[in-house]
Symmetry: C2
Subunit: 360 residues, 2 copies
């Protein structure tokens, strides 16, 4: 429990800001740049970075100005962390799991397959030790990270053919990245990395058999349901994907405590903007998809069970080699067990009734 | 969809703040007071008001100072809105459903029995029209409200005897307030209003048969499980109770756009602090309660079904008399239907698997 640490730049820092009348120094005019790992077409994810920048501008009366760039405008999407690390840019809006190749611990920042849902991930970060562990993993790169957005549980993607059992996964060419792809590879899936714009033709031609993206609102725009009509759920590899603002640590330390506080609060507010917007736009998008003839299907239980076993084996392998990952994973696991036990009596029991009722 | 309006004090206001170099006026030194409707012993709910005030202090370098008072220190808990309305105090941290006696529409601000869970309530507020409707209901009182906290789904309370069917509710003296009490009264329950400190002796003596409070963390402190060992879930009357910062509208309009932005962002951040803290402290509290001999029980389905029918009838009665409530309720109902349909494929499907897995 680190209640006092939540959003506080350290008690000493906050008190200094209050005690010191050096206001000109507390709110200097500065201009920073932010690169997003996402294209503008993903208007909710990219929009979260824009929203964050707007909040900082409004909270500082325009004195702290952050210019946002979409993936590729000045920095390729997957190189956002490197660019922040080497000081090419002050900050990036990106999921830390893009960088598991550097340290698997960074995957815990976004969340892992069979990890936590959005609320528990947020709670683990602030009150369960997540922040300290992920930022320890960020230290070698000279980066400091703050949560800034969550997608909620994502969808499992569009498939050309029905998946009836775990056998059907063998040899399946599936456009999926990250840890979900690594886990599915253990079940015979052949993970594919394809840029969003190329997914439709690849699925249409049968170069790939399936593709996952985000949730109904973003997925609908790609039109994949026309060529791969089976739309599976849930996206167990992204049960509550948290995004981060990754800041060059030296630059972060140069900020006044007042600006650090504003950035932290703007991140929390932008986090809510993203989740609230998705929760408003995903439901009608799903309804439109189903009305257009897409077949909504739950993954067969044996496929999820097999994936869960494969994921657990994968985490054990990584834990054996990476003590920091092990520390973070064990912490997340304990939080998950206790958290979901309570969830069952609280949120889940309520949602169960509400789903039964609204269906009826 | 009012995407642009989320957390923005109006585009014109924000632009003025950016354009004007009148910084001394944008960040004046001011001192306000805030009354909470809760005692300090509810450290997470009361703590949310303190956290909000701290965030504003940090984001303004101590220039905007908000002093917080617990219920009864200067204003009784249930008179918080009146005190803000008549200008005795600038702001209150309170659930708007305390004031359904003034206008039932205010109940929609916190959420209603069989309403929305925490995430959907937040989304409805910002993107589904909730904000405009509740603040229209606040207008006659000269108050402006901003979401600032959520409890998540609450528990159903402690009962001296097991509830086996809806018949067992008849004549039951239940310490429960608000709309939940009004709904249960239709099923023969006799709702009781008893201050937290008096609940234990009343339950022990059998003056009352049951009492509900908040969730495991707060409930545990009252020790009710020792005298009423059946602990029921879910608290269908509070599926995602949202708290608000209620501000005197004239005072709010005097704030600079910069300070308004800081207050909005601090509210969103404090909202997350409350939810994240509850999600961290409720799970171990529930485990302790169960280990101490409390019997965890789901409400029998027929009791929830009967309550749901009674609630729907109640909302129809109110809708017939109150056009603004009807507008808000219809909006919430449409949001609920679509939202929970998507929930079933997204969050709920993920949570279902995770609960099954962590149990096994």
């Amino acid at each position: 429990m680190k209640r006092r640490a939540f959003l506080t730049a350290g008690a000493a820092g906050a008190m200094a800001a209050v005690a010191s009348p050096a206001l000109a120094q507390s709110t200097p005019e500065i201009r920073w740049r932010l690169t997003s790992s996402f294209p503008k077409s993903l208007d909710t994810i990219y929009g979260t970075a824009e929203t964050f920048a707007r909040y900082v501008r409004e909270a500082t009366g325009g004195k702290f100005e952050i210019q946002t760039f979409s993936a590729g405008e000045i920095i390729p999407g997957l190189q956002a962390l490197d660019a922040v690390s080497n000081g090419s840019i002050e900050m990036a809006h990106t999921p830390t799991y893009f960088y598991t190749g550097k340290d698997m611990t960074l995957g815990l920042g976004t969340g892992i397959p069979f990890g936590l849902n959005s609320r528990l991930q947020h709670s683990w970060w602030h009150f369960g030790g997540g922040e300290a562990i992920v930022n320890e993993a960020m230290k070698p790169f000279g980066v400091y990270s703050i949560p800034c957005g969550n997608s909620g549980t994502q969808m499992g993607g569009f498939f050309r053919k029905e998946i009836k059992s775990v056998e059907d996964l063998k040899g399946l060419k599936f456009r999926i990245g990250g840890l979900g792809g690594a886990v599915l590879a253990k079940l015979g899936v052949v993970p594919q990395q394809i840029a969003p714009g190329d997914v439709y033709p690849a699925l249409e031609r049968g170069t790939i058999d399936a593709a996952e993206f985000v949730g109904p609102y973003d997925d609908e725009k790609l039109g994949l349901g026309k060529v791969a009509p089976y739309y599976y759920y849930p996206g167990w590899w992204e049960g509550g994907a948290m995004l981060h603002l990754c800041i060059n640590a030296a630059k972060w330390n140069e900020l006044t405590p007042q600006y650090q506080a504003i950035v932290r609060q703007a991140c929390e507010a932008a986090n809510n903007w993203m989740l609230a917007k998705y929760d408003a736009v995903n439901p009608p998008a799903l309804a439109r998809l189903v009305n257009s003839g897409v077949h909504l299907r739950p993954f067969p239980l044996d496929t999820i069970d097999a994936a869960q076993k494969a994921a657990t084996a994968f985490y054990a392998e990584v834990s054996a080699k990476n003590p920091l990952f092990k520390k973070g994973y064990d912490s997340m696991l304990a939080f998950r067990k206790e958290g979901y036990t309570w969830w069952q009596a609280g949120e889940y029991a309520y949602d169960s009734y509400m789903i039964r009722m609204t269906r009826g």
